[in-house]
Amino acid sequence: MTTSPLLDASGVAKNYGAVAALRDASLSVLPGEVHALMGANGAGKSTLVKILTGAISANAGRILIRGEARDIRSPAAARRAGLLPVYQEPSLIPDLDVLSNLRLTGTPVEPFRAWVRELGIPDLDLRDTARDIPLAVLRVLDLARALAVEPDVLLLDEMTAALPANLAEKVLEVVRRQGDAGRSVIFISHRFVEIAALCDRATVLRDGATVGVVDIEPGVEEKIVELMLGTRIVKTHVAARSVADKARPPARPRITVKNLRVGTKLSDVSFDLADGEVAGVVALEGQGQDELFAALAGSIKPSGGTIEVDGSPVKFTHPIDAIRSGIAYVPGDRSEALAMQRSVRENIALPFSAALRNWGPIHMRKERATVASAIERLQIDTRAQGEVQRLSGGNQQKVTIARWIAADARTILCFDPTRGIDVGTKQEIYHLMRELAGNGKSVLFYTSELEEVQRVCDRVIVIFGGRLVDIFPVEEADEPALMRAAYGLPRGAKADVGILADPHSSTQASNASDAAEATP
């Protein structure tokens, strides 16, 4: 095609303090094209989307719309420029009815109604309050609202997630027809099948930069996976583990999870965790791993299934219950775990004061000794003694783990502990996890970086769409296999459920049935 692009973004960069979320992203969308935007977790997809839709502003880069440079400062400005997003979380105002929501955004009602019918919802009452509408329908309404103003570029973020099969089908059909009508769609999805069925080209992001633009054609799946992973596709070494370690008879399970269900986010997940092992959890963003960890940590109550600790079933109502069972949770977001304005010592010693009987005077010498040994063990750089917020990210992360080492927790749930920290610290954390396992502790380790699996884990649990896809022994968990599994394609199914397979294949269907549960 020689037509000039409708949307042309280049050199887009965004920093959050010292962290670069986007370094050099570019995206060029032709008129009438359905363009996929792909990338592994943290590659910068969502940041790019936010910049394109005016939710945040870029530090550098150029955005041309129909060849004209536009400065998109707010969602309203993006709207005027003809760029309309449909976010993963519906952006209808929950407490207003549908009609008021339309008026708020200046959306014409009749075209909206027409689109809603077209998208497979014949009996919508515009007087319904958004809060009372099921999530799946709400997402479709969001789409219809965007379609009603006939935008030049429609940006769909995981549009079919949480949609039952019939709605998803309609949505995909409508999206395809948008392209035929000469309008463009940017389509973000984790589902290869949809991308294969729908898109013309795909832009792949990795580490905040665009690493390739590919035409969607048979066999491109491998290439996309390769682009997403970068050069790391070479098989990394399996973590050195002593033979004795391997030969040990399987220990009694420390934690057994049976048919765990949390709302609509997690369903029917079963696995166990033994003493002396590091079990990895691999999943794309928002596939239910957050809920899994929160349920094990006692932060949320599961809606079904059982958790057994040392063979006896437990019901956690507060994290203190989990802690009493020896289960400690290290959240992925450090700001969630640390009292940032307090010292390293106070942060590490925090669990000691939690119980009512420990509210009295603190035995300072004993505390110092315990904390010092934990600091020593994790090699925390405490030169910036004053406040935890002055430590580097890596050291902060170590503090969150040191707390539970000082408290001698038997099981540690680590949620992506190496996100956004330097390579050296990462190595130390891998080492620490192995060491903990060697001492008979158990670790459940969610990671967004697949290469870590080989370095640290004994087994890998892969979750997709709130369901267990597979449990790999580490020997078989090379990155391409994990990546495929993370996209919902189980081991050995590659030939059948590849990128160009029938869109109504098994994974699709199972997801659809998940979503159908979400719709009361």
């Binding site: 010292a18 910068g44 969630e336 009512l356 009295g360 330097d422």
Partner: protein
């Protein structure tokens, strides 16, 4: 999110100054206090003498204890507006019950409403998660109502100020060539206890931690409602004790005895460097804050500044200090 760590460059002067303020808030406070005293001395040469100092301390102490209540509640991100009413209730009940009762019984009776109000505050804030401001304002209303009803029942028996309280509130004891107010006998151990609690006990730790990051404390196994309930009961007890001290100082029981101290107590804690958002601050700063406000009040009186202007000033101080504090924190 992928990360590219940037090595920290030497901090610019402005940020260093902010860091200094954040680390050592006491030094600028003491400087401010000295400046105020100097201004006072310039405006009224000779006013700053031994008697004036003793007087200033006497009036600063009740304020400082109430500001201690605010400091502790503010560390958790709360506020306790009921301290004025609680202090008044204790004082009033003490002054009226002492007429017919044994001092110990009168004391226990005087402390009862403090415990009750603290308990209600704590449950409202800790269990029901009502905003502390609204909750303590509500109990203030109820407390005031109860006090008015109580007043009618004791109107016949009259009131007197126990000699001991008068001695504690107004008396001075010459010591080492200085006339030291007797109130220090109560205040010094109390202040030491508060400072120790905040710095060296599990409870104190939790106050800071809960105010800094409640989610983190929850993940560490802390039960929020326990901490908050204990906190508001403690705060109320302190307020009750302040009431007893204050009645000894003012010597006139009334239904709005300690009410004028409420706003200054908030202001003293804020000036003293305790963050109204929680997690940062300490009691020593608050004590100096209370002294600053007492001196400032003298100064405003000398300048014949009306009560209205003083309130405006207190309001602006709270707003300005909070906004400034926010800048320091954001620029970490």
């Amino acid at each position: 999110m992928s990360s590219t760590a940037i090595t920290p460059s030497p901090l610019p002067l402005g940020r260093r100054a902010k860091r200094f303020m954040a680390d050592r808030p006491l030094i600028p406070l003491i400087i401010l206090l000295v400046i105020l005293v100097v201004i006072l001395q310039i405006l009224r040469p000779g006013i700053v003498n031994e008697r004036w100092i003793a007087n200033t301390i006497k009036f600063a102490i009740p304020l400082a204890i109430l500001a201690g209540c605010q400091t502790m509640t503010m560390l958790t991100g709360g506020i306790d507006l009921s301290v004025g009413t609680v202090a008044t209730m204790s004082a009033f009940i003490m002054a009226t019950q002492i007429v017919n009762q044994d001092p110990a019984v009168a004391f226990l009776l005087a402390m009862m409403p403090a415990v009750l109000i603290g308990l209600v505050n704590g449950i409202g804030v800790g269990v029901f998660r009502v905003h502390p401001l609204i909750m303590t304002l509500g109990t203030t209303l109820i407390g005031t109502g109860c006090l008015q009803v109580y007043q009618r029942t004791v109107i016949a028996s009259g009131a007197k100020i126990p000699d001991f309280l008068a001695w504690l509130g107004t008396g001075v004891t010459p010591m080492l060539g200085f006339a030291l107010p007797n109130a220090l006998l109560l205040f010094v151990p109390l202040a030491a206890l508060i400072v120790f609690t905040l710095a060296r006990t599990g409870f104190g730790r939790l106050l800071y931690a809960v105010g800094d990051n409640e989610r983190a404390t929850r993940l560490s196994g802390v039960q929020y409602w326990q901490v908050i309930t204990a906190l508001y009961v403690t705060s109320s007890l302190l307020a009750g004790i302040t009431g007893l001290l204050y009645i000894g100082l003012i010597k006139a029981p009334s239904l709005s005895l300690a009410e004028p101290l409420v706003l200054p107590s908030v202001a003293a804690a804020v000036i003293g460097g305790t963050s109204i958002f929680g997690g940062r601050g300490g009691y020593t700063g608050t004590i100096i804050g209370a002294l600053i406000l007492t001196v400032l009040t003298t100064l405003l009186t000398i300048l014949q500044m009306p009560e209205g202007a003083r309130r405006i000033l207190f309001g602006l101080i709270v707003l300005f200090v909070t906004a400034a504090y926010l800048r320091i924190v954001e620029d970490k």
